[in-house]
Symmetry: C2
DNA sequence: CTGAAAGCGCTAACAG
DNA sequence: CTGTTAGCGCTTTCAG
């Protein structure tokens, strides 16, 4: 490994001068700079960032804690985050927490020992010890996709309420009057907001909010499949709003087993607009969360915070967008 | 930040001794060890791994270069790799290269400056400068999913030939006699191997290899869709083997537009068994690559290499597995 | 078994 | 504008 000493010797200057040109320090004679630059080139020198970090107190590395990278939703967020990290010369360490607080804590501690400059959490539903601790230390963090109440921290998320509201309004505009809501567990705030948006749209249209049409607590495609098999025969909605794409696919699968056609017999609306929506059969109309954009914003925010700690915490709410494909149609159409 | 000096002072020993207990050095008096441990506890001390790395020459961080984390295939590999990295106390930095050699080079250089202990490449189709350079430096690397000819490096991949062979044999056992092959560009070695497996199965069954039934050079769902629309009417195979799941979905979509039912009219076989296979309609029979396993093996191998550099390079070929779902059926069934 | 001392490769005052 | 000198926080001889 060639070090700053080798360069200094080759260029006939002191290591301080070499350090100055490495870091673009302004008051270096043009001639000296050139000598140094040339020596660096010739020796194929690249500064050891570990050593630099030890003094400078930053590593240009941040951690990204997500439940599971194999979930396309988080993979998209990660892509957005990594792209902008890269743009600013940062790298990201990814950590799959599986929503396990202990795993999360272990990761956080390890990353702190490695002196990462900041952390993005795409994982916590409720405030936890880690976030509190980091917040207290004034360590740069930003939360993504899920809001956490009770602490002032930066957070970026999509407008779940508005997205659901507009999606259901669209179904109503298609002539649907009996619209079911199929969602995840209610302890997730985004589920509650999506449900609220659904109800608001109904109410605004003078339609009743029927408990029998609201099924929540569903986590998997299978759950949605079974729930639909169970509730559809009595309820017979003409449209179903599923609070995420995977649930929507479970719904569709169950409907098909009843011999129904989508969207001729029943319209189905999803949420998230992950890759699943495009792959589904029929391709799913879905409320798109700007996943990459969320990753991008979160990272931008984090880097900002890293470089300028005194900024005030902010909640950034990104708009959703209804992506119309083939799973929705006019009532009776 | 509390340092090793604080602990030493609190425990009434030298920093050398503290360092020894941190690193589990054996010859420390039990009493001393306990004093130190207690001081560490009380001060809530955690060693600065950056400083340690500067001396020890390892960071317990490795880089993972993939084309795109938002591609479920690579996301699965990443999950497998991260899990085992974590198990061994390593972290991974992920890098999306988009198959761009320049981006790759930039990442490699940056990661080297950050002193990562090793690198996994899930990206390179052909030998490139980066790999050659790293190999020459004896820097620990392992390649994954794609074989690269011309260098001796560790590589882990699935048995593409065998997988294709068995998949097509299965179609033949179902009674199919006219089986098409729909694949990616032939400059990708895995495509060539899958095609070879397909041909071997046909030949072994005494079936002709018909050029008109072999379509390659396809990259996207759209490509497969269009290609199928174009070739199906003349060729009329009773089964189609698509060399990956996304292509299979494109094929199915085109077939449905012809008013055909899957698998009653045409059987479709995919490859990879990504999440898409389960989501597809109908759920896809697919040759599964053990993606997580591949990530796991690659990481295991890398860590081995990091800790024991003189090992010999190896090529690890993992078996595939045919996952039968609903897109395949008896000929005429 | 333990401590002193020398560095890992770099940055950051401080003189000059 | 440039060099000297302290470290950053830790590991590792080398004595003892």
């Amino acid at each position: 490994m060639t070090t700053i000493y080798d360069v200094a010797k080759a260029a006939g200057v002191s290591i301080a001068t070499v350090s100055r040109v490495i870091n673009g320090y302004p008051f270096v004679a043009e001639k000296t700079r050139e000598k140094v630059l040339q020596a660096m080139q010739e020796l194929n020198y690249a500064p050891n960032l570990l050593a630099a970090a030890l003094m400078k107190k930053n590593t240009y590395t941040v951690g990204l804690l997500i439940p599971d990278i194999s979930n396309p939703f988080f993979a998209e967020i990660t892509r957005g985050a990594e792209d902008t990290a890269n743009k600013f010369g940062f790298n990201i360490i990814i950590c799959n927490t599986d929503n396990d607080p202990e795993k999360e804590t272990k990761y956080v501690n390890l990353l702190l020992q490695k002196s990462v400059d900041g952390l993005i959490f795409a994982t916590s539903e409720i405030v936890n010890q880690n976030i509190l601790m980091l917040k207290e230390k004034q360590f740069p963090i930003v939360l993504i996709a899920r809001e956490v109440e009770g602490v002032e921290v930066d957070v970026v998320l999509a407008n779940n309420f508005q997205g659901a509201y507009e999606g259901v309004k669209y179904l109503i505009s298609l002539g649907h009057r009996t619209i079911a809501f199929v969602g995840e567990p209610l302890n997730i705030k985004s589920t509650r907001e999506r449900q609220a948006g659904y109800e608001k749209a109904l109410q605004e249209a003078g339609l009743p909010v029927d408990e029998g049409l609201i099924i929540t607590g569903l986590k998997t495609l299978e759950d949605a499949f079974k729930a639909t098999k169970a509730f559809y025969p009595q309820a017979r909605p003409s449209a179903i709003f599923a609070a995420n794409d995977v649930l929507a696919i479970g719904v569709i699968r169950a409907l098909k087993e009843f011999g129904l056609s989508i969207p001729q017999d029943v319209s189905v609306l999803g949420f998230d607009d992950t890759i699943f929506a495009a792959i589904a059969e029929p391709p799913l109309t879905s409320v798109a969360q700007p996943m990459r954009q969320m990753g991008k914003m979160a990272m931008t925010r984090l880097i900002n915070r890293i470089q300028n700690k005194e900024e005030k915490e902010r909640k950034i709410v990104l708009p959703t967008k209804l992506v119309i494909r083939s799973s929705t149609n006019f009532y009776g159409g």
